[in-house]
Structure formats: structure tokens, C-alpha cells
Amino acid sequence: MNGRHVAVVGAGMIRFGKYPDASYPDLAQPAVVDAIRSAGIEPHEIDATFCGHSFGGMLTGQRILKGLGMTGEAIVNVENACSSGAGAFHQAQAAIASGEIETALVIGVDKLTQFAGGTLPLNVEDHEVASGMVMPALYAMRAQRYLHDYGYDADDLARVSVKARANGALNPFAQFRKPVTLEEVRASRPIAEPLNLFQCCPTGDGGAAVVLMSAERARRSGATPVWVRASVLHSGRYMTGFRDFTLPEITVRSAKDAYEQAGIGPDDLDFAEVHDAFTIAELLYYEALQLCERGEAPRLVADGVTALGGRVPVNPSGGLLAKGHPIGATGVGQLAEAYWQLTGRCGDRQVAGARIGLTHVTGGGIAGFDHGACAITILAA
């Protein structure tokens, strides 16, 4: 890390789910209050707020904070698709590391029930979107190619959902708290072949928040610090030619940079929260994050390596598949989970002795890219 050391000192989150009558402030304010209270500070001690969202409209951060008396300081609204919240976190830690501010609030929020149904609305200025591209279809084609290239079948995908739902059942913040069996995943209705309903993250709403401090400020406060060892934000590389759908280049690059920044390797991770918007995504990201060799990811799931109690639990929260994916909130929700894991506050889903954790989100839906954005954070107790 360049500059001063930065700590996460508080986190808050609402249970992700469907809140069709709630406004953006309704979704975010409880998370903000919990994050600031858990940091043990007063609201006026926040020097700047970074608010990530994709569909909140103009001045979402200001609309949230006016009801909490937290106005007058800088509020920056950040849009980067599913990386909006983690992108806001990246900017906040940079502002502290540079010495500009001492204490920052990061908010992630989105409300997908505002749309009347169907897949996530993508931008029709994009020619692929205009011709029928939707997010499940993109991941479905990655899945088809992966299964074909490495000789796996649909059950290898489905097992990711079974693991996610088992973890979600232990997480009071998760949208889905009911476990599913392999048979139930197989029997769910098709969305984009070979992906079916239980292999896709649900539509939902959510808000999450974390408080960051400089090391000096954190030591003077009574809060329990978790240290930011790496924070990486990249855009995808635009390519017009052929690309390997089983190698998510933006995550490969971001992971490499994050490990280098933190001075650790994948073997040092005690857990990871990764962007499992669809089952295939989790498998591809095991390989991109170097948790295993290429073509081996399904074995990690089948052998329980990434289950709770395994060598490196992935998505102990239930991930996007079970916890939910209100897109701008997701990255901050992951960081809240990581903070709680590293401070031993996760109850039944606690990863025993967790000291180092990684969070990873991407943001897609744009022709010529693997994904438009990717944020990776490494936190240490």
C-alpha cells in the first residue's frame, strides 16, 4: 500500500431482500447508523462520504445523509455497475492514505425492485445489449465454454448453489435463508442454458456501510481495527478479437496486483467473498484468484475445500447467490462481512481463526470487455 495505513473500524448492513416500498434512504440509513455506532464515533467525525450505487439517481448520498444530519462535508457518488460500492471504498481509502482526510464513511445501496421484472436493465447504447445480451446469457456462455473445455457437467455448476445456500442459511443478513439440494437446483426453471434459476443471484434491495480511519485516528478511537492491506480497482481491457471466456482477464490482473500490494499469496487467505452472481462465476474466480489451477475449480467445491470448515471458505456469507445482489450495495456488503469475520462476529458462519480475507466484485454488461470494472480488497486482523 502507498501512503498511510488505513483501517476499517465499523460496519453495518440491512438484510438484503425485497423492499418495494422502501426509498434509497430507507435502505441505507440503518446501515449507516449501525456502522457509525459500531465504530464508536459521532456522525460529525466523518470527514467525507463515498456512496456507491447504480440506479439511485441524482445525489443519492446526499438524500441518504440529510435525514441523519450528516451534511456539509464532501459527499461523492460513485457509479461502476456491480463494483460501485467497492469502487466507493477504493476512493475512500485512497483519500485517507493520501492524508487528505482522517475518517470516511462508505455506503453501498441499490434497489432493484424498482424495476417491474426481467433481467438487470443494461444500456441500449451497447450494440450487444440491443441485440439481446443480458447478464445471465453472458455467464451462460462462459459456463457452456468452461464445461466443454474442461469436461464437467451441469451438476458441477449446481454444487456451487448448494454450498452458497447452506452458508446463507446461517446468515441473518441473507436474502435466501433456506438450503437447497442438488435435485432442487437441477429442477429449477431454465434462465439461460445451462444456467437455471437457482444458479442465478436473486433480484433484491439492500444497503451496507463501513467506516474507515487512518491508523493514527483508529488507535485513538476505541474501535477494533481491521487493516486494509490491498485495495485495487481496475477497468477491463477492451478487445475486438477472440478472448478466452474461461479466463476473466480483469480479475486475473486485479488479483495479481492485490496480492503484490498486500505482500501475500493466495495460500495466505483464510476466506474470500467473491462475485458469484452466477454459479459459473465462482468457479472462474477460484482460478483467477489462484486458489487452484485452471480447470480444477469444480473439484474444490466437490471436495469441500471452499465450504465452511474447508481450507479456504469462499462466500461464507452465502455470496451473491444466497445473500443477494443489490448491485451497488454488494461490494460494501462483502466488506462488512469481511470486517465481521476478522473481528469474530459472524456467529454460526464464523470462519474459525480468520486473520486475512479477500473481497472481490466485478461489473459487467458492456461489449468487448470481460467486465467493465473490478475491485479487490485484502483485509487483515
Partner: protein, 141 residues
């Protein structure tokens, strides 16, 4: 990429409107009677090829010329979509076709879906009045 500093009176650049995604794709399709061909842009300096065609090279900003692409290729990946954007009729089939020109094209797929195979041969079809971008691929006969 290299730039030389220009000393001149500042003037506004021209805006070239490319329109919606459908209009962008349509600009990359050419009809001649019953035959259809996809037309990419090829860079006059670095030979980067883009489909749909762009007004300038994305890699080096040099001028581009039109390049007609092969009308058959191989199917890199495809899927049948059962849940789509609100208001879109389902199911439909889409995929990516790799052309020998080094271009990967996102495309609707029509015809007998059971004949589509990953890495299988596909051919270009089109009709000037067809919806969307006016072209699609089918499994080769």
C-alpha cells in the same frame, strides 16, 4: 500513439452521432439484393479491426477503411435465453461467432437450434427488413 502540440485558435470538434446500439450494429451490415455481408472497420495504420465499424481506430486513433468480413465462421459459445429484459419475447438464441478475419461477432442464432454445436460451423443470413440489426447466423448446411 504520439501527439504534436498544436498552436491554433480553439475550435469545436464535430460530433458524429452513432445512435442506439441497434443503429450501431446496422451500420456494420450491408445488403446487396439477397446477399448480406458484415462490414468492419480496419485501421489504416495498425490494422486493428472492429465490428461494428468505428469512426476511428480505438487502438491508435488513425483513420479506418471498411473491410468486408467472411460470411462463415465457427460458433464460440451460445445460449438459449428464457428470461430476458422486460418486454423481450423469449425464448431466443444468441451466441458469439469467430470469423477467420480475427473478429468475434455477437449474433442472434436462427434455424434448427439442435444443430448448433460449440466450435461448429455457422453461416451468415440476413434480410434488409428483418428486426434488430437485420442479420443472424445459422448452423451451416
Amino acid at each position: 500513439m504520439s501527439f504534436s502540440p498544436q498552436i491554433a485558435i480553439a475550435e469545436p470538434s464535430t460530433v458524429v452521432a452513432t445512435g442506439t446500439g441497434t443503429e450501431i450494429a446496422r451500420r456494420g451490415v450491408s445488403f446487396d439484393g439477397n446477399s448480406v455481408v458484415l462490414v468492419a472497420s480496419a485501421c489504416t495504420a495498425c490494422d486493428a479491426v472492429a465490428w461494428p465499424p468505428a469512426a476511428r481506430c480505438h487502438a491508435c486513433w488513425a483513420a479506418v477503411t471498411p473491410r468486408r468480413l467472411a460470411t462463415s465462421g465457427t460458433l464460440y459459445a451460445f445460449t438459449t435465453v428464457h428470461t430476458a429484459a422486460l418486454g423481450t419475447e423469449v425464448p431466443y438464441v444468441i451466441g458469439y461467432v469467430d470469423l477467420p478475419d480475427g473478429v468475434r461477432v455477437f449474433t442472434p442464432l436462427r434455424g434448427d437450434a439442435s444443430r448448433l454445436r460449440i466450435d461448429g460451423p455457422v453461416t451468415l443470413h440476413g434480410a434488409a427488413g428483418a428486426p434488430g440489426a437485420g442479420f443472424w447466423f445459422e448452423a451451416a448446411r
